[in-house]
């Protein structure tokens, strides 16, 4: 119970933040916020002894029991690792933001509410075992991220970036929901654990691959994989603490988490392996290649994040191969998932610190443009040191933790060559090659980031602010992270025992059941082998390319500027759904009643006639029809002549008179068919309506009163013909197929005995079905009032007064 409540603690705390901000003005609101992640981090740390033994803890709070939806806090190795990352880095980010955001100039209550909301959402995502609540928290991360990116909402770029990230991640989230629903339909449960238990049966289902692709789309959009990464660089308009927290350490890893969590279910599928490994590798290469092009510090970090997420993703994909390999626990495949988790931890540490350094540089110099920066090393020694540690770790240089995970990454990629299923024997060789090239670019942009900013001459005098070292408080968080970066290099096996191995057994339950079975020992020096040679190659070639950067950086300009994914996005959002859709809908929404009527009648008759014949419902018989008399024929001829005259008359008055003739003929028909009441009423009503028509005719405006015949339009003729045909066909077949006998006999028998009357029509009107009459006279009354109102109330003529 308390365990589930912990997910909501940040949300509850968020409720009180405006109070602290408004009432306690002298203390930075961040200090109050800081308590929350610190408490949660220490609370979650108490679970480490349990999960490192391979056990898990589960707590549940029913929300909608009838639908099987509940809030679940499921803590195993994987979700505990993420929970500690979220709360731990959250604490550091809050601490950093206290010094980054100005207490008097910023709307701090907004900022911390969004941040706490996000923290709850993330904890919910990683701890939910129920797919519906997982989706709920997933969308909450999208929304809070939207709010955080648009925090400085008076800037155009912030709003644009916020909208873009919202559009892409929510679109992915929706698709993911579809995948969840499919999975729940297949397995008849929302619980991921129960689904994992029945994974083999699920794989046999036809919808399995569809669910897989939909869920992957959710994960890829959230984790900024190719081609959905485009929102991440634009999200850099957010305050730097947000970028450090959301866009490096936590939210973008929600997709990674999702892929890891669903690996036990989907690893059986070839599609999963190819998509996760392939897209991950493509993203790795693409991100690292374009990171070198960027000139904005945070831009470089954004593309680098994209690239590193691709790396982790591809490792998870390769890790899924272990499912298909005999004795995978002893082969090189066991490294992949381990390396993915290891790199995930490392990335969170070094990327968080690098973002914070980028924020410090921005804060202290007033610019993030790398072309204006340089020579800050002697002015900001601490920041430089942290940046150097972070960058070297990102580049994979010892003695930093990035080196260890990069080595394992190369090992995992090389292992693919051993795998000869699913066409990997032919295409698998590409994996280590692309990975290697991407690592070279990673090396280049890491050096580019740190050395262009801090070394060289620079023109410090021209910077917007006079640069100086950041205040103590701002440096605490990046320094802690940098210490972790170095620390993990020296004690990797402790980290592995506490965090990585429990996470690995959560991802690969088919391979291991207990953390001790994960037989991997990380060592910084593992002899001269292919991986080491590849790493040395990366260092050498990367260093040469970095020194000659200005010579070859021009090749980026060779790419056509129009053919970018950002342009594609703009095209879809603004051109396709904005302009084109508008044009499409305005092509039929013309405002012309004639057109709407034409469309409605046309569609109506098409549907009815189509249904009539496709369902084979058309049937005509003249059995039981009355004989036709001569006077009826004559009346019909009169009726037809009247109708034709109405339609083809040259002047309107002819039409009106012809219409009157039609009406009187109809009343004659009523006489013939023995309906005296109807005949009476029809006669009087026809007279009144003809008089009203004449009235309307008399008041037509004098100018432009053209006495011209209705022009013939083929389309209208077609529609009216179709409607006439439809009514005729329906009437004929309805008349020919009477399914139930008429109720009229009952009326005939009871009209005197029960109702005390002789005129069946009138008795029906006032007695049997008086209700209809009651409301018909109400209709009449309303019509009379409306005419009265329309004529008497003329605001425009009498100067707006009644």
């Amino acid at each position: 119970m308390f365990q589930v409540l912990c997910i909501f603690i940040p949300l509850i705390a968020a409720l009180f933040m405006p109070f602290f901000f408004k009432k306690v003005r002298s203390i930075h609101t961040g200090w109050f916020v800081l308590v929350v992640p610190i408490f949660l981090a220490s609370y979650y740390a108490t679970f480490i002894p349990i999960t490192s033994k391979g056990d898990s803890v589960i707590a549940q709070l029913h929300w909608i029991p009838s639908l099987g939806i509940s809030f679940v806090s499921y803590l195993d190795g994987l979700s505990l690792l993420f929970s500690i990352l979220i709360t731990g880095i959250g604490a550091l980010v809050v601490l950093y933001s206290i010094f980054y955001l100005n207490r008097t100039k910023e709307q701090l209550h907004n900022f911390y509410i969004y941040l706490l909301m996000f923290m709850s959402a993330m904890l919910g995502v990683v701890q939910s075992d129920n797919m519906m609540t997982l989706y709920l928290f997933w969308e909450l991360t999208s929304i809070s991220s939207f709010l955080l990116i648009g925090y400085w909402f008076n800037r155009d770029k912030s709003r644009f970036g916020a909208l873009k990230s919202m559009m892409i991640t929510v679109a992915g989230g929706m698709l993911m929901l579809g995948g969840f629903v499919l999975l729940a339909l297949m397995g008849d449960t929302f619980s991921i654990r129960e689904l994992i238990a029945q994974a083999p049966e699920l794989a046999a289902n036809d919808l399995f691959v569809l669910a897989l692709i939909l869920i992957l789309l959710g994960a890829f959009t959230k984790s900024a994989q190719f081609p959905f990464y485009i929102w991440l660089p634009d999200a850099m308009e957010a305050p730097t603490p947000v970028s450090a927290y959301l866009h490096s350490a936590t939210m973008v890893k929600a997709g990674i988490y999702l892929v890891a969590r669903f690996t036990p279910i989907f690893a059986q599928s070839e599609v999963w392996i190819w998509l996760v490994a392939g897209i991950g590798l493509l993203t790795l290469f693409w991100g690292s290649f374009f990171a070198v092009k960027q000139t904005d510090l945070k831009g470089i970090l954004a593309f680098s994040t994209v690239s590193q997420l691709g790396l982790i993703m591809s490792l998870l994909g390769v890790g899924a191969i272990a499912f298909h390999v005999e004795g995978a626990a002893d082969s090189a495949f066991k490294y992949a998932t381990f390396a993915a988790i290891f790199h995930l931890i490392n990335h969170a540490t070094f990327k968080g610190s690098l973002f914070m350094i980028a924020g410090i540089v921005d804060h202290e110099t007033g610019t993030r443009d790398i072309r204006k920066l340089g020579g800050l090393m002697s002015i900001m020694p601490v920041s430089f040191t942290v940046a150097l540690i972070g960058s070297f770790s990102m580049a994979g240089i010892p003695p930093f933790n990035g080196f260890l995970s990069k080595e394992m990454f190369l090992t995992a990629m090389l292992s693919i060559a051993e795998f000869d299923l699913f066409n990997f024997a032919t295409w698998g060789i590409l994996f280590p090659i692309i990975a290697w090239i991407a690592s070279v670019f990673t090396f280049i942009y890491s050096l580019y980031f740190v050395f262009r900013t801090f070394t060289g001459k620079g023109n410090i005098a021209q910077l917007p602010h006079k640069p100086h070292e950041a205040p103590m408080g701002m440096l605490i968080s990046p320094v802690i992270l940098a210490v972790l970066v170095v620390g993990i290099f020296f004690i990797p096996n402790i980290v592995a025992d506490l965090f990585i191995k429990p996470a690995v057994i959560a991802i690969q339950p088919f391979l291991y059941t207990h953390p001790e079975q994960v037989d991997i020992h990380i060592s910084a020096w593992h002899g001269v082998n292919t991986e080491l040679l590849m790493t040395l190659g990366i260092f050498a070639i990367g260093f040469v390319l970095f020194l000659t950067l200005s010579k070859w950086q021009k090749i980026y300009n060779a790419f056509p500027a129009k053919l970018t994914l950002n342009n594609l996005y703009d095209f879809i959002i603004y051109e396709l759904s904005g302009n084109w859709m508008y044009r499409l809908s305005s092509s039929y929404m013309t405002g012309s009643n004639r057109r709407y009527l034409g469309l409605m009648f046309g569609a109506f008759s098409l549907i009815v006639i189509g249904t009539l014949f496709s369902k084979d419902a058309f049937y005509v018989t003249f059995e039981g029809a009355s004989p036709v008399h001569l006077h009826q024929v004559i009346l019909i001829i009169v009726l037809v002549i009247g109708t034709i005259t109405t339609v083809f008359a040259k002047s309107r008055i002819t039409s009106i008179v012809a219409l009157g003739a039609v009406g009187y003929t109809v009343s004659l028909f009523f006489v013939l068919f023995k309906a005296p009441d109807l005949a009476l009423t029809q006669l009087v009503i026809e007279t009144i309506s003809v008089a009203l028509f004449l009235l309307a005719f008399y008041h037509l405006p004098k100018f432009k009163k053209e006495q011209e015949r209705n022009r013939f339009k083929f389309g209208r003729a077609l529609v009216s013909f179709a409607v006439g045909a439809m009514v005729t066909l329906v009437a004929l077949s309805a008349h020919s197929q009477k399914l139930v006998p008429s109720i009229a006999e009952y009326y005939k028998e009871t009209v005197y005995s029960l109702a005390g009357g002789g005129n069946i029509v009138n008795v029906i009107l006032v007695d049997y079905r008086g209700f209809d009459t009651l409301f018909e006279i109400t209709v009449l009354a309303i019509a009379g009032m409306a005419i009265y109102g329309m004529i008497k109330l003329r605001l425009s003529r009498k100067g707006g007064k009644l």
Binding site: V684, G756, G758, N762, G770, I787, I791, K792
Partner: protein, 140 residues
């Protein structure tokens, strides 16, 4: 120039009563023979229209000082009230009652609550028709 419509006005005075009584006749006869409140109302309205044509709107309004909008309202109330009577006796809405009575002058007569309902219809129809014609006629 005012035209002196002596013949029309004289005829109208007589014909008005003929039409009006015919309307009353078909209203009362409605339950057993063709007719009823609706047609009766329309015919009554047409008798008044005849007066309006023969004289003019103002004269007719002074002869028949009726606010037709109140006529509509009272017709609706009467119809609704008749339908609602049955609810006070525990029967469903719109249950009619009828029986035969020996009335002075008329002798044995059938009295039916449906006739009251029909009277409501009659009043509404007269009211609506006259409202429409009068408002359009008054309009400049």
């Amino acid at each position: 120039m005012k035209i002196n419509n002596v013949i029309l006005q004289f005829t109208a005075k007589i014909v008005f009563f003929m039409i009006f009584f015919y309307a009353v006749h078909i209203f009362f006869a409605g339950h057993y023979t063709p007719g009823g409140g609706f047609v009766g109302g329309l015919v009554t309205a047409s008798a008044i229209v005849l007066l309006i044509i023969a004289f003019d709107l103002k004269t007719v309004q002074s002869i028949l000082p009726i606010n037709y909008i109140y006529l509509i309202a009272s017709g609706l109330l009467l119809a609704l009230g008749t339908a609602g009577i049955a609810m006070f006796t525990g029967k469903p809405f719109f249950t009619h009652f009828f029986d035969y009575f020996n009335l002075p002058i008329l002798g044995k007569t059938s009295l039916h609550t449906a006739a009251l309902f029909d009277l409501g219809v009659y009043l509404v129809v007269v009211g609506v028709t006259m409202t429409i014609i009068q408002t359009i006629g008054e309009d400049e």
